[in-house]
Amino acid sequence: MVKLAVNIDKIQLKNPVLTASGTFGYGKEFEDFIDLDRLGGYIVKGTTLHPRQGNDYPRMAETPAGMLNAVGLQNKGVDYFIDSIYPELTKYNSHMIVNLSGSTVEDYVIAAEKLNELEHMPAIELNISCPNVKEGGMAFGVSCAGAESVVKAVREVYKKTLIVKLSPNVTDVTEIARAVEAAGADSVSLINTLLGMAVDAEKRKPILSTVTGGLSGPAVKPVALRMVWQVFNAVKVPVIGIGGIMNATDAIEFMLAGATAVELGTANFIDPAVTVKVVEGIEDYMKRHSIDDVNDLIGALEV
């Protein structure tokens, strides 16, 4: 038996496979396809203090080896989540983590206080990197001062594990990572989507209603791997790797580059059963390479 469990701060995940927010709904949408309890945990969709309708259609453009989205954090708000979704999710024994977004520090703090009371939710992922909402997250995540201010304020009211999701749309991701670590983050996850754009030449118009959107999928994987490696070498807190992971090999590449766990995002759209396949694939890889403990893979890149 290989050991697949990893720790993110105080939480033990039964394996390193998580799902990326915004690609996994509230988890229950996957019930027909997989046993959610096979996952290390699942991160549910981006939630804000107040309900949001999101951006206008079209919100998505298919691009080579990936896609752009400009959903704009459509969600029914944190109270709806707590009253109507959370109780239903407590039946799973995998760790449930909510991704929290906001447009002001105050919004983040009020919502984080509410989420702090949820017994079966051991962590939140703070989204300071959504590229699709004005003053929505990314404004905080692209400067050290902005990132620090929101993380510090949330840290004061949120007592459990605080993961901060970083934007790749910055000059030096390690500066932001260090700033959020200093402000009290227990872990960092990266990367959120890369700001991009798609054009319809026939119509001479942008494809997305918002003109720009966030790029995800295999197209971003090399950028994500590079940033995970840089951040792993810059901070002490555990790093969660995200960006174009489609299979177990991709996941292992991220772990070798320094990720303690990984989030699968866009891959869920292509194959809703991919997460469990990645768990099994990591196990196979470990057996083939005679590795007993998955923790031995973390940052094991031979440079």
Partner: protein
């Protein structure tokens, strides 16, 4: 029936005209729960440009033979690759997805209107409800005679009416110009799938005449099962996912 993602064996690939193919999939778990309007989301292998799955409404479901068929029109690289699949090969499919059309009451007079690829769910609709009512009229519109496909199959399941933009077969004009609309108030229900401008025009006629009308939308989808929130349409209750709240909507729900 439960949704699943499976590699399905191709039983048949029939070329219908220059653009369209009928592809039959072996699907051991299909049952009669599959509703007209529901769809399957098919993965394209080895395409440089097609990363996401492509959704297609069920054209036919054969519970006895344990198979279903889809009509695929060549639009881009992905659909061209799907149309070149050979019997015996496998394709990954997620199915059944989305909501279906409401079942008409016994002996209601029903008008099914299909345009372009939107003809597919109208076949399953007609086949499924033909036994309980003889009053199914099927109106299909296309640019020209060569764009009208599977007419012989439609003739077997209802009273078939046609339009073409060039007048090469059926009445000349768009489907909404067809003479059947002179007696539209005699219909109890209208079901339609096709390009949005066509469905909007039909929806308006239905509203003006106070006739029940459902439309099946074709918004571009990311996942097909309600998690990416990319295919939304504005409704009276805010943005809703076409893939899970639809693709079938009553026109009164939409902001048309």
């Amino acid at each position: 029936m439960k949704k699943s993602v499976k590699d399905l064996i191709i039983l048949e690939n029939e070329c219908l005209n220059d653009d369209s193919h009928k592809i039959v999939f072996q699907a051991p778990d299909v049952d009669s729960d599959i509703l007209p309007g529901q769809f399957a989301n098919v993965l394209v292998k080895d395409s440089q440009t097609t990363f996401l799955r492509r959704p297609f409404s069920f054209y036919d479901v054969d519970v006895d033979e344990k198979s279903f068929s889809l009509i695929i029109k060549k639009v881009g690289d992905g659909t061209r690759k799907l149309c070149s699949v050979r019997p015996g090969e496998e394709l990954s499919v997620i199915y059944p997805l989305g909501s279906g059309f409401t079942t008409p009451e016994k002996d209601e007079k029903v008008l099914l209107i299909g345009g372009g690829s939107g003809i597919a769910p109208m076949m399953l609709m007609a086949k499924k409800f033909a036994p309980q009512t003889s009053n199914i009229h099927i109106l299909l519109g296309a640019r020209s005679q060569k764009d009208h496909i599977v007419l012989d199959e439609f003739e077997k399941v209802g009273n078939l009416l046609l339009t073409t933009e060039d007048g090469s077969i059926g009445e000349k004009g768009y489907v909404t110009n067809h003479s059947i609309f002179k007696e539209i108030s005699s219909f109890d229900k209208i079901y339609t799938c096709g390009p949005n401008p066509m469905m909007e025009a039909i929806g308006k006629i239905a509203k003006d005449n106070n006739i029940f009308c459902e439309v099946s939308l074709e918004n571009t989808m990311g996942c097909g099962f309600g998690v990416c929130l990319c295919c939304v349409t504005p409704t009276q209750e805010g943005n809703k996912c076409v893939c899970t709240d639809g693709p079938v909507f009553n026109i009164n729900e939409l902001k048309w």
